[in-house]
Subunit: 415 residues, 2 copies
Amino acid sequence: MKYSVLTVGDELCIGQVVNTNAAFIANLMSGLGFSVFCHSTIPDEPSIMKSELQRLMDNSEIVIITGGLGPTHDDITKGVLVDFFGGQLVVDTNTLSYLESWFESRDRKITEVGIAQAMIPSKSRALNNRVGTAPGILFEFDNKLILALPGVPAEMRYIVTNEFLPIAKNHFEKFSTEVQQFLTIKTVGIFESSLAELIGGPENFPIGTTLAYLPSAGSVRLRIGAIAASMEKASELIDEMKNTIISKAGKYIIAYGDDSIQSVLGNILKSNGLTVSVAESCTGGMLGAAFTDNSGSSAYFKGGLIAYSNDVKIEQLKVSKATIDTFGAVSEQTAIEMARNISTLFDTDFGLSITGIAGPDGGTTEKPVGTVWIGVADRLSAKAFQYKFGNDRSLNRERAVSKALELLIKKVNEK
Amino acid sequence: MKYSVLTVGDELCIGQVVNTNAAFIANLMSGLGFSVFCHSTIPDEPSIMKSELQRLMDNSEIVIITGGLGPTHDDITKGVLVDFFGGQLVVDTNTLSYLESWFESRDRKITEVGIAQAMIPSKSRALNNRVGTAPGILFEFDNKLILALPGVPAEMRYIVTNEFLPIAKNHFEKFSTEVQQFLTIKTVGIFESSLAELIGGPENFPIGTTLAYLPSAGSVRLRIGAIAASMEKASELIDEMKNTIISKAGKYIIAYGDDSIQSVLGNILKSNGLTVSVAESCTGGMLGAAFTDNSGSSAYFKGGLIAYSNDVKIEQLKVSKATIDTFGAVSEQTAIEMARNISTLFDTDFGLSITGIAGPDGGTTEKPVGTVWIGVADRLSAKAFQYKFGNDRSLNRERAVSKALELLIKKVNEK
């Protein structure tokens, strides 16, 4: 059973906003067992929107539209929907009374644009939005569902999760004849091509399964897909394929499912009662931010020092001035002192440090942009590792964080 | 002149990966003056890909395909392109010799999948990829350009920026009859609907311009669009519209163009010779990461303390234990001490602090999830502001960072 996403908005078309909405919706819909026909992003142009809506409806059972539901003149979605499905805009009384109290609670009287938000196409019904002003708009047509949502991510998420998900689930159970499921396996320390040679081609896979390779900086994820008549059968196929991969490439696997590397590491630290602190220079707090992505991270993450200037490295982090003068701030010796000192200062089992030249400025022949030293300390010893990433500041910072997390996973697993 | 992006990959369709490639390409193409027909994302299915490629070619002068060029069996793009344009796969000798030395520099002999990467459709030509193994593949057909790129963002970016951009620019200059340009204006402190009432409807705009409203957490961006016969004329229209907006809503404007709030703030600090340090609890380093997004931030950002645990707040940041015991770690008093102490410890002109309950756990009736205190200190005084965000951990952390940056902009501008 197929679904599609139609995203409306010039801001996406010109690259001003990254389309995180499509990914969020896709994640939920594939969790239910749906497969995708197309995610389509178009400008705020009614004629393009109409023909695109027709095309997606012709090829999918559910079409989810996001964007263009706001209160200003550039929001075209409602007009197009009335044109497409017939009828006219009418006041939805539930929405109106909710909006009146929404404005009231902000000590304001409902405005004209506020009232316009309560108007929906007469052939649709409203789905509640309790985090903003534009309701979701749902059409049922020919055993298909067409849902229009506001483009603001938090509002879209609220309506999909709380209002639409049960409807979509019910629709799937009523009409679907097959289920699609996925499992992702994260590997590190092996190239995509070598991994493919280890695992072998699709002629060896269980029938009904697929395997995709998703390389990214420093790791390759494998995604198993399975299509079957039921959830149970799909899960069995996935398990079978998973065990094949474990038998052939098990030693490169570090995580299963949607787990991020920081959550895998967090679980290891927590279950062993271990703590960590960080000392960051070029990543400026990103490593700490990664650790604290996980709720419950206070069980193992105590904090850190963002030692961006050398003053802070010397005065707060107690890196010896002689070390920095002799070897430089981006050096094995500085990385080691940073990692060791932070674990001592913060009294943690491990200290992780990052110091590097993120770029675009600051590179030299000897230490070009992309040179990063990462230090790992436990209570007894400390070691640092050098990496040469690339020229992209933001990518260099991301890679440094991933590598630091990987190094600590290795270190903890050695224990 | 229109372009489209066709993204191929199950990982995007099931929401495992957010489509940042489309945004990157869109940003560059609209910079050249192109407008968009459609960004389309489809699964790894040859039949869907073929019909989608046809549809996009029928409606655009340039189609950029990303994904499906890797070395494994799930990569369908080359096969589809040969099917579509005719010919067969042939070795590109330039790419092959580059790949041989690429493997050699890693002390490995080129593998079979390595050689497969050097095969391109006979009717295309290769565009160099110097950060990975899959070259770009360019077809010229009927005065249209069709470009296939690897999906790995760094590789896609390299080929587009270094190899394709001059070709696309040339194509545009040769064939286009109109130019589209944009300018974004960022506002804070006013609702979308109130801003729309201040500025008025499209009947007041210069002919050829459009205005879009892009609300997000705590701010509304306005995007002026202009279509004209030349870049000069488009710029004039944008200036005219910009001046209208300044005259009507100037006091809410904080930035123009693609400038992020951190770069606007960075420029203000730098030009005034001022410095800042941060003390973060629930954001765990994200505020420091935001400051250090900007290259050159060392001129004004010295560093910070990630005081995630109360131990670190008390021992390292010198927040009084009595304050935390009496008022709690998430309180006005703690936020003030954090901001004041970090600016003293790090000897900076300003200290910014964030302490809050990001969620999903840790909320109480009195201090529900989403409660955040942000402290701002200069060398003389400190003040803290309370916010009640929502239930989403990651959104709460992002909003806290944005608010902290906004508060500091206000503070510096008061001086």
